[in-house]
Amino acid sequence: MTWLTLLLDVQDTSAASYLPIAIQLIFAAGFVAAMIGMSALVGPKRQTKDKLETFTSGITTHGDARQPMAIKYFLVAILFVLFDVEVIFFYPYAVNFRSLGWAGFVEVLMFVGFFLIGFTYIIKKGALTWED
């Protein structure tokens, strides 16, 4: 049980100093569990057919949500994420545009260049042709 005593040793800088955080975590988890448990125990339960139905803002449900979708949707979605990430990089660059100077400009140009090469490849491979 050496490790427990060590864990409680406040002198220690690395591990044991996290003890208050651990206690807090335990407290938070315990509080949530207690609240949910109590509401389940104390709250009234009246189960009717309407109450058990999926809530869809008033529209009647139809079919199953787990239907296979065409892979093309995912492909486009993922490619869009890449665009997104690229654009996100532009924000910090725009802020520091002046201070980075020409060197920064060249680096960003390279960054965009790599992206363009990637997208050229994707288009050439025909990943974006919607119709087969």
């Binding site: 050496t2 864990l7 800088t13």
Partner: protein, 465 residues
């Protein structure tokens, strides 16, 4: 730096070569040419002729060992391209992409031989791993290949998780991605008051690397993945990638060899892992009927031997791991290149190969002899160096004896193939006609193995001079 940049560029070039070139063999020749450029670029840096110098802010550092290891890996890949290039062409429709992915793996390797901190280490491991998941599943129409790919991905992610956890703990404890010697010291000497986070992190790092090099008991992915992946990519994974994984492993843990003091905990863990790896790899291989699966287990068993490099770190070890990776990679690449030519991957499929294809049978025998460590082949000196380093490290005679015993077991299942080729009746059929060039390449590879077996310093000579 040359190799990192060139390998990434080569990958991009290969991607586009598939669009520009319609002829599959033309793609193969482009790949070989790109690889030659890569080798030359790397040698430029090795001999200090010309280096592309980009300030990596201390994230990367290049030393002779790493650059030399790059060369071994590239040459092994060249042998692999020459021997198995036509099999890559037949593996699926996206030939250029396969080559491109292989170059990306090589890029990961070059980062792993030059990382200077856990951040680049992690990036290298991931660059190395992700293309492999794709390559494993490259046979899209084959369920087994898909299954293997998914399994590999799942378990690989799991180990990556462990790796990241380890890195996080170390970072949390030390505030840096570097490996301070105090961290390692506390880890190798077992539990101490120096703090628990960093040592635990190091153990987690260790475990995840055991996974990457398929050391027992973290080897479970290896047989299924090696068996399920298209043989030609299994060859690549089991040799070049594995060797690189080992190199990174050793670079990470043996970098501060002076700190590997008397720590009994570390030695005990390694002892257990080495013995378990040797045991599971060798014993399970005995019963396999498929040569491909047998080779998967044999690669686990060989990993047990390579782990010796971690057990004791001295001058012998560095020579040993370089020689071992070369000997093991060359022999296994040769065996796989023959295996992929076979109609039937089971042991019976090799029956009578010596009659129908004497050159294949003979070179295959040389490769298997090298794997089992018979003198006059490179494998003998590789094993010798490993065991000698363990003995020089002191106090591990029992481990060496166990290793030798398991090496004897390995002879049993390796010789089953030789027996099938030479002493059993049958018509071993190949799935494609064997070209003269292929035979010449095999003979050259076998000759290299024999030369290294007679004169191992031939390889190490390049390193030291």
């Amino acid at each position: 730096m040359n190799a990192i940049i060139l390998s990434a560029l080569c990958g991009v070039v290969m991607m586009f070569s598939g669009i520009l070139l319609k002829n599959k063999s033309a793609i193969k020749y482009v790949a070989i040419a790109a690889l030659l450029v890569l080798i030359i670029g790397n040698l430029f840096q090795f001999y200090g002729i010309y280096t592309i110098d980009i300030d990596s802010k201390g994230l990367l550092s290049f030393d002779r060992t790493g650059l030399f290891f790059n060369t071994i890996i590239f040459v092994a890949t060249l042998a692999y391209f020459i021997l198995s290039g036509s099999d890559i062409e037949r593996a699926g429709p996206d030939v250029a992409e396969y080559f491109a992915l292989i170059f990306f793996v090589l890029c990961g390797v070059t980062i792993l031989t030059s990382f200077n901190g856990l951040l680049m280490f992690f990036i290298g491991i991931e660059i190395l791993s992700i293309p492999l998941y794709i390559l494993t599943g490259s046979d899209k129409k084959n369920l087994k290949s898909n299954e293997a790919s998914l399994k590999y991905f799942l378990m690989g992610s799991f180990s990556t998780g462990i790796l990241l956890m380890g890195i996080t703990l170390i970072y949390g404890a030390t505030g840096s991605f570097g490996l301070q010697s105090t961290t390692i010291k506390s880890a190798v000497t077992g539990f101490s008051s120096a703090g628990i986070l960093a040592p635990v992190g190091l153990v987690l790092l260790f475990i995840s690397m055991c996974f990457k090099v398929s050391a027992a008991p973290f080897h479970f992915w290896a047989p299924d993945v090696y068996d399920g992946a298209p043989s030609v990519f299994t060859s690549f994974m089991a040799t070049i990638v594995k060797a690189a994984g080992f190199f990174a492993f050793i670079k990470l843990f043996a970098a501060k060899s002076e700190d590997f003091g008397p720590g009994p905990a570390w030695k005990l863990i390694l002892f257990v892992i080495i013995v378990a790896t040797l045991f599971i790899g060798n014993i399970t291989a005995v019963f396999q009927q498929s040569v491909k699966r047998m080779l998967a287990y044999s690669s686990i068993a060989q990993a047990g031997f390579m782990l010796f490099a971690l057990y004791s770190t001295n001058d012998f070890t560095k020579d040993g791991i370089l020689l071992y990776t070369a000997a093991y990679s060359f022999a296994t690449i040769g065996i796989f290149s023959i295996l992929t030519k076979m109609e039937d991957y089971s042991l019976d499929g090799f029956n009578g190969l010596s009659k129908s294809q004497p050159v294949l049978a003979f070179t295959n025998t040389v490769f298997f002899l090298s794997l089992s460590g018979i003198p006059l082949t490179a494998g003998f000196f590789a094993k010798y160096y490993m065991l000698a380093s363990a003995i020089k490290g002191g106090g591990s005679l029992s481990l060496v004896i166990i290793a030798v015993l398991f090496a004897a077991v390995s002879v049993y299942y390796y010789f089953k193939v030789i027996q099938a080729m030479y002493f059993k009746e049958g018509v071993a059929a190949t799935n494609t006609p064997i070209t003269g060039n292929f035979k010449v390449a095999l003979i050259v590879l076998a000759a290299i193995i024999v030369i290294l077996g007679i004169y191992p310093t031939a390889l190490l000579g390049f390193y030291y001079f």
